[in-house]
Every structure is written in C-alpha cells, then in structure tokens.
C-alpha cells in the first residue's frame, strides 16, 4: 500500500503541461539547424516560390497558353521586354515560336513539371515502401526474391525503360492518344522505373529498426504483422524517406525534362519545362536564345534547390551526426 505513495513521490522535474506539436518542433534539432543554415533557408524560400508559382499559375499568368484564341502568331519570337528594340511591354520574358507569352508558359510548365515529379515520386514511394517493408520485415526467401527483382529493375536505366515504353506506346496508339495521356504515362513510367531506390533504403532501415526491442515488445503484445510493419516500424523510417523523396522529386523532374526534350514527354501544346527547352532549341542559333535559356535556368534552379534541401535534410536527420 505504501508503494503508491513512495513511487509517486519519485516525480522527476518534468514540466506540467505537454507542449504542443509546434512547441515541440521548435525544440528539435531540425528547427535549430534550419535557423542556423542560410543555404537551407534560401533553398526553402525559393522552393516555396516555385510551389506558389505552380499552384497559382492560372491566377498569376497574364495569358493562358492553352487557349489558342489568346495566341497571335504575329507575336512569335519576341525577345524579353528589356530588349529595347524589339521587346514588347506585354511579354516581359518574350514569346516563343508560336507567339505564346514565355512567362505564362513557364508558369504552366513549372506546374506540369512539379506535378509529374511529385506524382511519380508518390508512386515510387508507395511501391518502394511496401516492397521494402515486406522484404525487410519478413526477411529470408521473401527478401531475396523481392531484392533480386529490384536489382533487375535497377539494371535497366530509367531513361532506357522510359524511352522504350513511351516510343512503343506512341507508335502503337498514335500521337493523338499519346498527347492526351502523356501526363499519366510519364508518371507511370518514371514512377515504376525508380521504385527500387525506395525499396532499398526502406529495407535497410527496417532491418535496423527490426532489431530494436520495441518491435519485439509489439510482437509479445500479440499485434499482427501488418500493424507492426505500418504502425510501428514505418513511422520510424520516415527520416530516410523524407531525404530520398526530395532528391527523387528532383530526379523525376529531370527525367521528365529529358524525355520531353527527346520528344517523348509532354506535347508542345501543353509544354512542361523540358518540352519548352526543346521547342526553343531549333531557334537558338537564329538569335531567339530566350526560349531555351530562360526555362533552362528555371529548371536548373528548381533542381538545385531541391538537391540542396535534400542534402541539408540528410545531414540533419543522420542520427550519427547529431548524437555527438
């Protein structure tokens, strides 16, 4: 009977009220290293700028590049507005070969590139996480089969798979249908080609987590395998997932741009950043450099900030680094 009194007297100096999620976040290592790291701050700001551009493209853009009635072929290949001879105040970044406002087209292109990138990564992550979790948790033969499968997938380069699939699709179903389905096809192809990246990362951290005693505790409790995998192990592998996701989105955007550049991606009527670069390529020697260079810079900056953010996250979330 005396136990309760004695043990409850063992209160430790823990503050009375549980802090809110935001207060807790402000105490974390992530937050502290973020407010100290200038590069991460700038990268995140630029990235948020891109996201806003993409989300509100229809509101920001002065023209709708998909609307043929707003396009005048007479305005084609106008240089940016700072060119005093030829520039037009209406089109501050100039126009492309079809007379579309380049600024509006870039806004819509960013929207398409980011959407494809993020959707492709969501697909990769879903496949990769499920396969990685099962392989890591079950181990043994299941693990062997799934991982050999991943190795086979990895031995084909993403570009090769994408080019073959998209070219065959275009050839057999015609360009017409392809143009309608381009977005979905790109997401599928890039998504499926890159899942082993996720599967391998997740498997490695599941193997590490599986050895920890809280997993044994969950088994002793009698929890089912599914619940242990998704409720107990998965949340503890979120850090690596977050890190590789940022890098993978950048990779997916690059893949999409490359495919579009090769004419296997988004059609010219709905240009992504890649197809925009490609469409301007023919005119680069006739002096209309801006059609290629400006979307190019936009793409490079986007990929760069995503990679910088990914690097920063990896450093911050690496438990080996922040223990010391």
């Amino acid at each position: 009977m005396t136990t309760e009194n004695q043990t409850s007297a063992n209160k430790m100096p823990v503050p009375e009220k549980a802090p809110s999620a935001w207060e807790r976040f402000k105490e974390t290592h992530v937050w502290h290293s973020f407010i100290k790291d200038r590069v991460a701050q700038i990268s995140l700001t630029i990235f948020m700028g891109y996201v806003i551009m993409a989300l509100f493209a229809p509101a920001i853009a002065p023209f709708d590049p998909y609307d043929p009635t707003q396009i005048d072929i007479m305005n084609s290949e106008l240089p940016p507005s700072w060119d005093e001879e030829m520039g037009d105040e209406q089109f501050w970044l100039g126009t492309d070969a079809q007379g579309r406002d380049l600024w509006s087209t870039i806004l819509y292109g960013t929207r398409i590139s980011l959407t494809i990138g993020i959707c492709a990564v969501l697909l990769q992550a879903t496949i990769g996480i499920i396969i990685g979790l099962i392989a890591g948790y079950r181990g043994g033969r299941v693990d062997n089969i799934l991982m050999r499968f991943a190795d086979v997938q990895l031995s084909f380069s993403t570009m090769m798979v994408a080019i073959v699939v998209l070219a065959v699709f275009q050839a057999s179903f015609g360009t017409e249908l392809y143009q309608d389905l381009a977005r979905i096809m790109l997401v599928l192809v890039i998504g499926i080609a890159e899942w082993p990246q996720y599967a391998r990362t997740i498997r490695a951290s599941v193997l590490a987590e599986k050895k920890k005693e809280y997993v044994d505790a969950a088994r002793v409790m009698g929890l089912g395998q599914m619940r242990i995998m998704f409720r107990h192990i998965l949340p503890n592998t979120l850090s690596p997932i977050l890190v590789i996701s940022t890098v993978q989105v950048a990779n997916a955007i690059i893949s999409e741009a490359s495919l579009s550049f090769l004419g296997l991606g988004m059609p010219v009527s709905q240009p992504s950043l890649g197809s925009l670069i490609s469409s301007g390529f023919e005119y680069i020697f006739s002096g209309a450099w801006w059609i290629t260079v400006i979307p190019g810079i936009v793409l490079v900056v986007l990929v760069l900030v995503m990679n910088l953010l990914g690097d920063w996250l990896r450093d911050v979330l690496n438990p080996k680094l922040y223990k010391g």
Binding site: Q6, A9, N10, K11, P13, H32
Partner: protein, 330 residues
C-alpha cells in the same frame, strides 16, 4: 609534492540554452602509485573529470577555471605540443569500449609499434620487443603470435588486456581508466581488475578508476571520490567511505545495493533521480532526494567538512554523526 593536484577545477559546456557547469569546485590530489576511485551515477561528471585531467574536453566544453597540476605544471594552459608529450606518454587513458582505442584495420603489433615510435626514437625491432613484453605483462598467452592478430580476432576480455598493454607502453605515471570492465562479464572483470592492481603496484603507476560500481572501487582503490551532479560530495580513504559513509547520498547508494538488503525485502531506494546539469537545485544538489534535508540545505551550497580522514560536502554531517553515536550508545 603530489604527482597530480587538481585545484578548483571548473568545466563548462556552452549549450543552446546557455552555459552549463559540468564540473564545479573540484579539488583532489593523487600521489605516485596511488589508486583513486571516481564513483558516481551517469551524469555525475566523473567521465568529464577524467577527460579534463588530460585537457581532452572538446567543444562545446572547456575548462573554465582552476588548475590541473601535473608535477607542478598546469595542464590546463599547456601548449598542444607539450600536452601531446604528456598524453599517452606520462598519462594514458583506457576506455570502456576497447574498440575506441584499437583501430580495426591494423594488427595489434602495428598499433603498439606506431605508438612507441611516435613518442620515442626507437627502431622497429626494439619497439616490437617492448610491445611483446608489455603483452606478456598483461598475461596474454603466446604474445609472439597474438601481436600479429587483428582486434576482431580477440575476445572482449583479451581486447581490454591489449588496451591496458597499450596504456602501459610508455611506462606512464598515471593511468586513467574509464569504466574499463563495464562491458565485460564478472569473471573477466575480476581477472582484469586483479591484473590492473598488480601492474600498478609493480610499476608504481597511479590509477584513476572511473566507475559506477562501488564493489569494484572497494576492491581496487585506496582513495575514493564520490561525485554527484558535477561536484565532489565526499572523498577520503576507500575503506573509511565504504565502512562509514558520511554523506546521505553515499549512504543511500550503498544501501541500495542488493547485497546490503535482506533477501526478499524491499531495497532501500533513494527516491527520484540525479538532476540534469541545467536544472541543478539551489543549495545542496542532493536536497530534493535527501531524507535529512533542513532549510540550510535548500539555500546554501554546503562547504567541505572534515570527518575522520574524509571531506564531506553536507550541512548535516555533524548532526548525523551525533545521532549515529547516540543510537549506538543506546
């Protein structure tokens, strides 16, 4: 002059939330060949003290006050070159995990020879002879073949022996051993402790043994220091402290051991836990856990009172002693 004299040592750590004192007001001496035990629970600052003696505190920590006099010279303000001459050469250190000292990709011999050649002008052959001799001293069977093995080929106990041999290489004056047997099994721990006592006695080496295990301190050391929340709370001859501890914390620590209780009965636990360094209570740091707490304990940092040959930081020493004598008399 004592071999090592630590005077008013203070070590601080600069944290996000401000500067925190990890060690405060540390004073003790160590004579040649003397074996000293530093006891305390995790967070008491015993390892920090071990590192600071060698001026090995790394950022964000620093020695923020006091002196560490080794043969009269202050280690706290020595140049890096002078320090290098002392570290490993005159004072060596043994860690809990042997793999912290041993490089897994080099053979034991390569590491020992490299260490010897770094401190002395000596040929490889001579260095090897000395290395084998030291391995023999730590009772490693067939040292001539063992010397060419890699650390992973040895068992945990053997590795710790090798680390001790490396510690002895330069014939140091002081060995600082930080929990050297905590990771080992009891039978091996007993062997290694016996070995260390024997080696220290034979070579007249002083030993600073950092441990949480009062049993080990009792068997190995002549002098003991009990630490709590970054401060020495009691120091004196080991036997006196073990048999007649004065500070309520030392008493509590000893009474909490299962061997001190009647089997099947509740153990005499100390309530609560050691405070973190950011939240050390005012007055005596132990006061929230102490059974004999008075007003003075919560207001004033206790100074050191001599009791027998011991120094005790407790306001209640005299009173407790009287009460004890009274109960014995009755």
């Amino acid at each position: 002059m004592p071999l090592l004299e630590v005077k008013n040592l203070e070590v601080s750590f600069g944290l996000r939330s401000g500067e925190v004192k990890a060690l405060r007001n540390i004073n003790f001496t160590l004579d040649r060949g003397e074996r000293l035990g530093l006891v305390g629970e995790s967070g008491a600052g015993k390892s920090v003290l071990g590192f600071s003696i060698l001026n090995l505190i790394s950022k964000p920590g620093r020695i923020s006050g006091g002196e560490i006099l080794f043969e009269g010279k202050n280690l706290a303000d020595m140049s890096p070159e002078e320090l290098r001459d002392v570290r490993g050469n005159r004072i060596s250190m043994i860690f809990q995990d042997p793999m912290m000292t041993l490089n897994p990709v080099l053979t034991i011999g390569q590491q020992m020879i490299e260490c010897l050649q770094a401190h002395r002008k000596i040929s490889k052959e001579n260095a090897r002879t000395i290395a084998i001799q030291k391995l023999q001293q730590v009772q490693i069977p067939s040292p001539e073949t063992r010397i060419d093995q890699y650390p992973y080929e040895l068992s945990g106990g053997m590795r710790q022996r090798v680390v001790i041999a490396i510690g002895l290489l330069m014939d140091p004056d002081i060995i600082i051993a930080d929990e050297p047997t905590t990771a080992l099994d009891v039978t091996i721990q007993a062997e290694i402790m016996e070995l260390m006592v024997e080696l220290c006695e034979r070579n007249n080496v002083a030993l600073i043994l950092i441990t949480h295990d009062l049993g080990v301190v009792s068997q190995v050391t002549q002098k003991a220091i009990v630490m709590y929340a970054g401060r020495i709370i009691e120091q004196g001859p080991t036997r006196e402290i073990i048999n007649d501890a004065q500070h309520p914390y030392t008493q509590g620590l000893m009474n909490a051991l299962p061997q001190m209780a009647i089997p099947g009965q509740r153990l005499n636990q100390i309530r609560g836990a050691m405070p973190s360094l950011q939240k050390i209570p005012t007055g005596c740091a132990f006061n929230p856990r102490c059974d004999y707490v008075r007003d003075a304990c919560t207001q004033q940092l206790p100074g050191y009172t001599a009791s027998g040959n011991c120094q005790v930081a407790c306001h209640m020493v005299a009173e407790l002693k009287q009460a004890e004598q009274a109960s014995e008399g009755a």
